[in-house]
Amino acid sequence: MADRIRAFAAFWYDFVVGDDWLIAAGVVISLALTYLLSRTAVPAWWLLPLALAVLLPVSLWRATRRGD
């Protein structure tokens, strides 16, 4: 039973988070920061594209370094 629960959890982790947890964590943090910024007078739309421009190269660098 424990093995099945573990396999079920592993399937959903793989389905949602995928190969690099850093991307999922980065997206969640970026969205939280966007929400906080949107509560102020400063425009918040630029934060997510900026996060993307950082997250993708960093994730690629990690992948090439460990030979994914």
Partner: protein, 249 residues
């Protein structure tokens, strides 16, 4: 989001998933038993239809703001993972997706298993191989249909696009009974990765309370900008790889 853009995004994403599922069904049918493989495929499609019917109306009832935040986050994570893999493949850092090779591996694995009848299914292994393959690939199709469809408030059109893609690919696969190697799968995955990332960025930011300059027109800048950025990363990684290989020789 226009109906055309919704249709194209869902159709392309679903073609890619359908090609992968078709390869598994073809391997199960060729190596084992066609009746068991098609029964497994039909069973999985029935389960997926129930999931869409159950979740579709429920997702459509969620307030748009909250929906866009959650869906945007999921699409962005999905899109970045697709794009990451596509960039690694295009730059030579990861083996390209090869349906012919996958088909041969599935055939070899399936051929070695003992045959066992279960009820109306002549070959249980062929049935489960086909069922699991279609269900797992199909879950991604369901996810794409529900996320794109609910955000555009048009789950029906998204479902039609997905259905058209699945029927087209399945019909082509079953007609020629060989894996669909001519489908430019790697290129399509690159394009789908760009679209998922762009829509995820757009909806995620809106859901978090940001307002895009130019509203929906911002997508017309986001999509090409992400495409150019991804292609630049491919060029950069390819150059690095060539430099490393040249250094070794």
């Amino acid at each position: 989001m226009g109906s055309g853009a919704l249709f194209i995004a869902v159709f392309l994403a679903c073609v890619v998933e359908a090609v992968e599922a078709t390869t598994i069904v073809l391997a199960a049918g060729t190596a084992r038993d066609w009746r068991s493989a098609t029964t497994g495929m039909a069973g999985a499609l029935a389960v997926l239809a129930v999931i869409v019917a159950a979740l579709g109306p429920a997702v459509s009832d969620v307030p748009l703001h909250g929906l866009r935040l959650v869906v945007g986050a999921l699409l962005l994570v999905f899109g970045l993972q697709w794009l990451r893999k596509a960039i690694l493949r295009a730059s030579g850092h990861k083996a390209r997706h090869d349906e012919g090779k996958i088909f041969a591996e599935q055939l070899a694995a399936a051929a070695g298993q003992p045959r066992r009848r279960a009820g109306l299914v002549p070959d249980w292994y062929g049935f489960t191989l086909s069922f699991k393959g279609v269900l797992l690939e199909g879950l991604e199709v369901v996810f794409i249909v529900l996320t794109f469809g609910s955000n555009a408030r048009n789950v029906g059109l998204a479902a039609i696009a997905a259905g058209a893609a699945v029927i087209l690919v399945a019909a082509a696969g079953l007609a020629i009974r060989t894996p669909l190697q001519r489908v430019p799968e790697n290129t399509m995955k690159f394009v789908v990765g760009i679209m998922l990332t762009a829509f995820g960025t757009f909806w995620g930011a809106e859901g978090a309370g940001a307002h895009w300059p130019g509203s929906d027109a911002a997508l017309l800048v986001l999509i090409p900008a992400i495409a150019v950025f991804a292609l630049a990363l491919v060029g950069l990684l390819r150059g690095n790889r060539q430099a490393v290989l040249a250094g070794r020789s």
